[in-house]
Structures are given as C-alpha cells and as structure tokens.
C-alpha cells in the first residue's frame, strides 16, 4: 500500500461533512416523527389492534370453568385441550400451598410456530395479532407442535391437523370476549386491545407487576399473568421444597 492513493482531505472538510450529515439525518428523522404523529388521527379507523390477555391468578380458584367453556365452544375432541388450568403444589406439610395457572396460546409477538410452518398454514393476523391456523393448508407435520415453547398446540385427532386456542376469533370479531373470559367466575381473565392505552388490560398492565411465561425464549407473549407461580418440577432437583405440577391434560406433563 502506498500513501499516494490516499484521498485528499483535511480535518476541516471532514468536520464540515460530519456536521452536515448529522443535521440532515436528524432533520429527516424529526420530520418522520412529526408526520407520523400527524397521520395518527386520520388512520384511527384503520388502526390495527393487538389483542392480549391478562390473567390475575390471585382471583383464579382452579375450577376449570374456562377449560369447559372452551371445550364446549369449539367441541374440542376428548384428550386434547386448547385451554387448561395447571395446579402447582408446593412444600411439605404443614407448610404447603397450591397455585393455579390457567394456560392458553400466548399469541406471541414472535411466534416460533409461524416461523417453522412449511405451508404458511399458521400465521399472525396483521389486524389483531391473533395467531391462527388455516386448517385447509395445514398438513399435520407437527413441526409447530414441536416448536411451541408453551405446548399450546396439539394434533386434532378428528381433523388430523394442528389446533390451538385462537382467542375465540368468531366471538372477538363480533365484539364479544373469548368464552373463557366470559365464563370465568372469579373475573380473573381480562381480555382487550394492548395497543389501546385506555383499555382495561392496558391500564392493569401499566399499574401491576406482571410476568409472561418463558420470557427467555424470546417469543414475547401477549398473555400476561399477575401473581403466577413459575415454579417447575425442575425445582425438585434442588431439594429445598417439593413441587408437583398437575397439568390436567391427558398423558401430558408440563413441557
């Protein structure tokens, strides 16, 4: 390498270019921000929703009404579940406790099931963020069942294609809440639009300590919990206290 090919420049030019570039870039980004703020009111009607659920497990009594409501809403075949309630029993007598954990599809922001689906049968709806399965396209390869970190999917024994909770899309599109939310006797489930800051779910999310399941998997779930017990049977390896999980799913432990 020789120095003769070096581009001729000096510090002053460089600084001038730098300042010019920064000015242009900040102006551009600022104008983009302004325009987006202005555009919001007009686009209000077309604004996409992002449905989510908040489950206050302090109000859950483990009665399985949600599971039964879901079963009857969709005529879910025997032995499989779209919605279920897990019991976490901890401790040794007399220091014991039991917690309830209602489960369903998390309708994740980054759904792995969608990434792996080879036919595009499962996808996240742009208008409301619900992850759905097109049973006409699904081939029943079970790849999505493997990929879901929440074990929310199953192979429907009747249709032989993948199936799972769809946030009661038929009810929600008519302005109703999902069957499990409607039937919950403790009012533990709150369903709503996460993108609307005035919705009940948004207000509760903003004012309560909440958690999601398996945040480390990067799926960014849209089902949140208040006061949920995240203990797993793995805790038994440590030997401090006993943990027993009952999933109430046929022949299925917690994955």
């Amino acid at each position: 390498m020789s120095n003769t090919n070096k581009p001729v420049t000096n510090r002053r030019e460089f600084v001038q270019k730098l300042v010019g570039g920064v000015t242009v870039a900040s102006l551009a980004s600022a104008s983009a921000m302004v325009s987006s703020v202005e555009a919001t009111p007009e686009g209000q009607s077309k604004k996409t929703k992002s449905y989510g659920m908040l489950i206050d497990t302090r109000r859950c009594i483990g009665c399985h009404t949600c599971s039964v409501a879901c079963k009857s809403e969709f005529d879910v075949p025997l032995g499989v579940t779209r919605s279920w309630v897990e019991y976490t029993e901890k401790g040794t007598y007399p220091n014991v406790s039991r917690h309830y954990l209602p489960r369903l599809c998390n309708h994740c922001r980054h759904p792995q099931c969608v990434d792996v689906c080879p036919t595009g049968a499962t996808y996240k709806r742009k208008q409301d963020g619900i992850v759905v399965i097109d049973s006409g396209q699904c081939i029943g390869c079970k790849y999505c069942i493997q990929a879901c970190p929440y074990d929310a999917r199953f192979l429907n024994p009747v249709t032989k294609v993948a199936d799972k909770c769809d946030f009661c899309i038929h009810r929600v599109s008519k302005g109703l809440v999902p069957a499990c939310v409607n039937s919950c006797i403790g009012g533990a489930r709150i369903f709503g639009d996460l993108s609307d800051p005035a919705s009940e779910i948004s207000r509760l999310l903003a004012t309560n300590p909440t958690t999601v399941l398996r945040p480390g998997k990067g799926t960014e779930p849209n089902v949140y919990y208040i006061g949920s017990d995240h203990n797993n049977e793995h805790e038994n390896n440590r030997g401090w206290y006993d943990v027993r999980i009952t999933t109430h799913r046929k022949e299925k432990g917690r994955r």
Binding site: C117, T119, A121, Q137, Q146, P149, H230, N232, H234, E251
Partner: protein, 313 residues
Amino acid sequence: MHELTWGLPVISYFFLAGMGAGAVTVSGSVLLRKGGFGASRFAVARCGALVGPLPVMLGTFLIVFELGQPFRALNLFHLINLSPMSIGSWFLNIFITLSVLYAITFLPSSAGPGDRLAPLRRGLAWVLVPLGIGVAVYTGIMLGAMPARPLWNSPILAALFTLSALSSGVAIILLMGVFFRRKSSNPAIRADYENSSYMLVTSDALLVGGELMVVFLFIMFAHLTIGDTKYAMATILPGGQLAPLFWGMIVMVGLLIPLIIELYQIVPKLIYGRQFKTVVALEVIVPLAILIGGFALRYVIVVAGQISAPTTL
C-alpha cells in the same frame, strides 16, 4: 409422560434420506473427479447412483403416510418460505426426481464412461452433489431451529447429521460393492475393486473422524453451558436415560469401532505404502456398524430432544 410427537417414521426418514442422499452425493463426486479411483470410478458411481434413490423414496413414503392424510403433503408445494421444512421438501422433491433420472442413466448394461448418456450423467451429478448435501443438512437445521427444544437448538446438529449422512452413504456403497463387485476372477477388475475400496474406506475414515470431532464438540458444549441445554443434554450424558444408546450404539458401534478397523485397513497403505488389508468380514462389519450407528444417532437425538424440555416456566 412425554409423548413422542415425532416417532419412528420420522426417525427412519431422517436415517434413510440421509443415507440415500449421502450415497448419491458420494456417487456424483466420485463420477466427477479425475484421479484416485482410476478405472473403478464408474463402477463406484454406478453403485451409489443405483442404491441412493431407493432409501430416500422409502423414507419420504414413511413421512408422507405419517401425516395421516398423505395427499395433504401436496400443500407443501403451494409456496416456499423460510421454514427449513419448506426448503427441505422442495430440495427433497427435486432430489428424488433428478436422482431417479441419474440412476436411469446408469441402468443400461452398456453404460460406460464415454457413452451417449455421459454428458447428461455428468450434468446431473453436478446438480445432485449440492442437492444431496442440502437434503442431508436440512434435517439437522430443521431440528436445530427451535429454542423450545434445547437439546436440538444447536448449529452443530446440522453438521453432525450431514457428516453422518455422507458416512452412511459411503457405507452403503461399500456394502453393495461387497455383494456385487467383489467376486471377480479377472485380476484387473479385482485390483480396481481393491483400489476403489481403499479410496472409499479412506474417505469414510475421514468422515467418521470428523463426526467424532462434532460429537465431541456437541458434548463439550453441553458440559460448558448451564441452564436448559445442560439439563437437556443430561439425557444423553452418563447417567441419563439415553446414555447407554448414545455411548454404546453411536460412539462405540457407530464411530470408534469402525474408525479403528478402517485405520487398521488403510494405515499400512496410506503411510507405509504396503498392501491394503481387505478381508471380507471387515468389509461387511464396518459398513453395517456405520449404518447401525447412523440410525442410532437419529433415534437418540430425535427422542432425547423430545423427552427433554426447558427447565423454567
């Protein structure tokens, strides 16, 4: 407790498709290369070309019927997306078609290095070598793509499956050679057979060595990590449920024993320029052990991935 979402049909498919794709890949690369195999080049390529498509088709048959609704599999070809299974099924589709054509070019009894079909055969070989590797590698990528399955969620799995597929491909060619090419009273053909056998065993030793390296990395990774992966790997590490199968069938039967026998066969010629040791018993045992190890590898990995899970909720 844990149900196996992917059972024996899928495991068998992984093994059969890997072996077949490996055989065709090896056949294609042997056909295309200039030196080394000498006069036996065509015979080896023919062996791989004729045997390769069958296991791939059998495996595909198994997974298509495992769906429960076989004709639904056509939905795979409505589109192509970034799912490893989507890309893999397109690869598989094209691979089966072309490998059958490739096999047909070897079928005529008059088929030889300079015949009328030679350009077509070479053209197909050029396409089938990368395609075969694609078919072999996608199964590993498919399993590795899921954070929900910590044992599979490793980029090295695809390398392991690919090396195992190529090694199984060499093994099935060697095995076919013993049955169809070994017996010959013609000393020239006999010498060719020994030369090709030496070349194939040498390549296989290299592949098996590479596979051992990858298995070592796989295990080392488990040892050096904590969390989900560590606990998932515990199923195949000593004391785990699948440890006897992993260490006995994969590492011992499938890798170490074949490697030692292969080294015993090739080292005298490779290093000291002496005779290549061909004993019919060894020529059968080595490929069989490699094929058993190849199946055990798919079995252990696919089952272990499904009986282990993330530890936290």
